[in-house]
Symmetry: C2
């Protein structure tokens, strides 16, 4: 049986890993056909992916990159589209079954909504979608009876720990966090962090946005919110625990005192494959865990004075409003400003907090309101920082 | 709904913990009625348990203790029986639903067989039953359509990790082992180990037999064999990993490279409660895991030159024969000799190996053959050591 898959964000870290996983599954018992791929601007890599996987359609997000691609490459068998509207449109088509959403940031929202509305299962790496629209997404999942399977290693771990268990038996979800590269720095030392330092994550090789989010621990904050919606859990039941080795990907504590954890080498191919084959498991050629190499697993508490972004996320999710949209948009802009050398590392939470102060939270969670709040925040900040 | 439970070996460590768990469950949503209790010779404790739990029947294994009990105590509402035959008989009665078998050693076999034959589920702490008669027990479980739920923390952990998973997806069962009190001793130092040293386990408070088995790591060997029968797994797929903190109770590795682990404070109440409420989980008042207290989990390989009993068990289970019965009987006698100061610590594996050399393995696994092989081994060794 052929499984037809579309990967949005196929040239990013998750997208490339997903294509590797599909290759390895196709050499095994599976038969996966790639229907659609997309990139923002990495057109040479996209061209290679087209040669190898012969998708029906590709979408290029950046106008200039699209023009360049059209003049440099020729793939007569492949439909070449441009822009965000195309991403949303192809997500609603009927020529595939599973959307792997590996887009970065807010841009992942509309394609995911359209995929769900057209009855597709979604393997979600784009956590921002649930952060800004968790309530809406959950309503749509229920209405259209589709599955939303997390790709994030933490949420994949929790999903695996919950297999065969009753959600009402859960007393706590324990999201582990590497603590990023600055776990042992003082708040004072954190002021002078360079972009290069922030981009070198100790355990995971990932895209720039998520790597900076890991360094500020906003990534963990986004994951707390993601966990709330994915597992329909009260925020008070979601804990974050620093585990520098990133071997235990997360844990679930049950009401009887028992804890289940999912472990493995820090390799995104494992949760990506699980999301594709869920709920089955398929033989994998990826390297297995060697406890001689990972012979000591340690745990620490998080210091939310140092990692203020995590506290902000916990505060925001308490109210279940449009504040999460503002937090997410302000964070995306702030990370961008930091990456471009415009602000220092500790200004990231400052900017987010100021935007939240400015915002009047609304409980309205329809798609248009979410898109408007996101747009307003970005317009204001872009103007303020002359981006 | 009332759940009727019999506990054989109720005055041992597992038995007492099981009664505590039943108390706490009865204060919660459960309604458990204790039908039968048994002890070998701890009659004062048994008397207290009768007062508190009003069982219909109690069995006392030791003749002298039985006589003493009859003359010192009067419980007109409770039937007082004597000996192993009574244990087997009451296990086959129709007045209860779940047998908690917490007997020590080979004596647990016949009551478990009778319980299964009369359609009872069995919560098994007595691993020797599966070691000597795993094949037979599995045949009976299938025939009488009952559940066998492990109480051992390791096997409970594996059962929990397998919830919602397909057994064909398992690539490895990883039994964790504390390594006992002599993990860091050299083989030379191990020669002079005293009974007192061997009885002080670093993490678990247990009965004498299992504590010595933990010190020689025969306990882990018995658990490897137990795991083979419980989870119907090839021995090559069962690994032992030293984990001195006894926080991760065991793990399962799947074919996709993912590993699931079950964790918790080292408290037998958790697996006992899980065995009683399986597959449900019930709120527990027992203390929860605090990662500030257990903030470092470490792993080491086992040295089977030092812990020869583990190697013996792996060798024995390769052949699936009466050798396991000999190994178990010789181990019980050798542990007894060591506890009585008759042999030194390292002679325990010597005695077992000599008995295995003397034995002609038979593939015959019916109950009578198992009982005869066990009896022959004991008679020979008792004669040899004038016990």
């Amino acid at each position: 049986m052929v499984k037809k898959v579309s990967i949005l964000g196929s040239t990013g870290s998750i997208g490339c890993n997903a294509l590797d996983v599909i290759d390895s599954l196709n050499h095994n018992e599976y038969n996966i056909k790639v229907i659609c791929l997309s990139t923002n601007s990495r057109i040479s890599l996209l061209a290679e992916q087209i040669k190898k996987h012969s998708p029906e359609t590709v979408v290029i997000g950046d106008k200039k990159a699209y023009e360049e691609f059209k003049s440099n490459f020729s793939f007569p068998e492949t439909e070449i589209l441009f822009g965000n509207d195309a991403l949303s449109e192809i997500s609603g088509r009927d020529n595939y079954e599973l959307l792997i959403s590996a887009l970065v940031g807010f841009s992942g929202l509309r394609p995911t909504v359209n995929a769900i509305k057209s009855g597709k299962d979604v393997a979600l790496a784009n956590k921002e979608t649930l952060v800004v629209a968790g309530k809406l997404i959950n309503q749509l999942i229920e209405k259209y009876k589709v599955k939303l399977i997390p790709i994030d290693s933490e949420h994949s771990a929790i999903l695996q720990c919950l297999a065969g268990e009753n959600i009402s038996s859960v007393s706590k979800i324990i999201l582990t966090a590497s603590g990023g590269p600055f776990r042992n720095k003082t708040l004072k030392q954190m002021k002078d962090i360079t972009v290069e330092e922030a981009l070198s994550h100790p355990n995971w090789k990932m895209g720039k946005k998520i790597t900076i989010d890991s360094a500020t621990m906003m990534n963990k904050g986004l994951e707390v919110i993601e966990a709330k919606w994915l597992f329909k859990t009260e925020t008070e039941k979601i804990d974050v625990l620093i585990h520098p080795q990133s071997v235990i990907h997360s844990m679930v504590e049950f009401i009887d005192g028992s804890i289940k954890a999912q472990l493995g080498i820090p390799d995104m191919k494992i949760p990506i494959q699980y999301a594709i084959t869920y709920p089955d498991r398929i033989n994998s050629v990826h390297s297995k865990m060697d406890f001689n190499l990972f012979n000591s697993l340690t745990f620490e508490n998080v210091d939310t004075d140092k990692f203020r972004c995590l506290r902000i996320a916990y505060d925001v999710i308490k109210e279940d409003s449009s504040s999460a949209v503002v937090m997410n948009a302000a964070n995306e802009i702030a990370v961008d400003l930091f990456l471009n050398g415009r602000i220092d590392f500790l200004s990231i939470p400052d900017i987010i907090e100021r935007e939240l102060d400015r915002h009047k939270p609304s409980p309205d969670t329809d798609l248009e309101n979410i898109i408007n709040v996101d747009k307003d925040t970005r317009i204001y900040l872009r103007e303020k920082y002359s981006i």
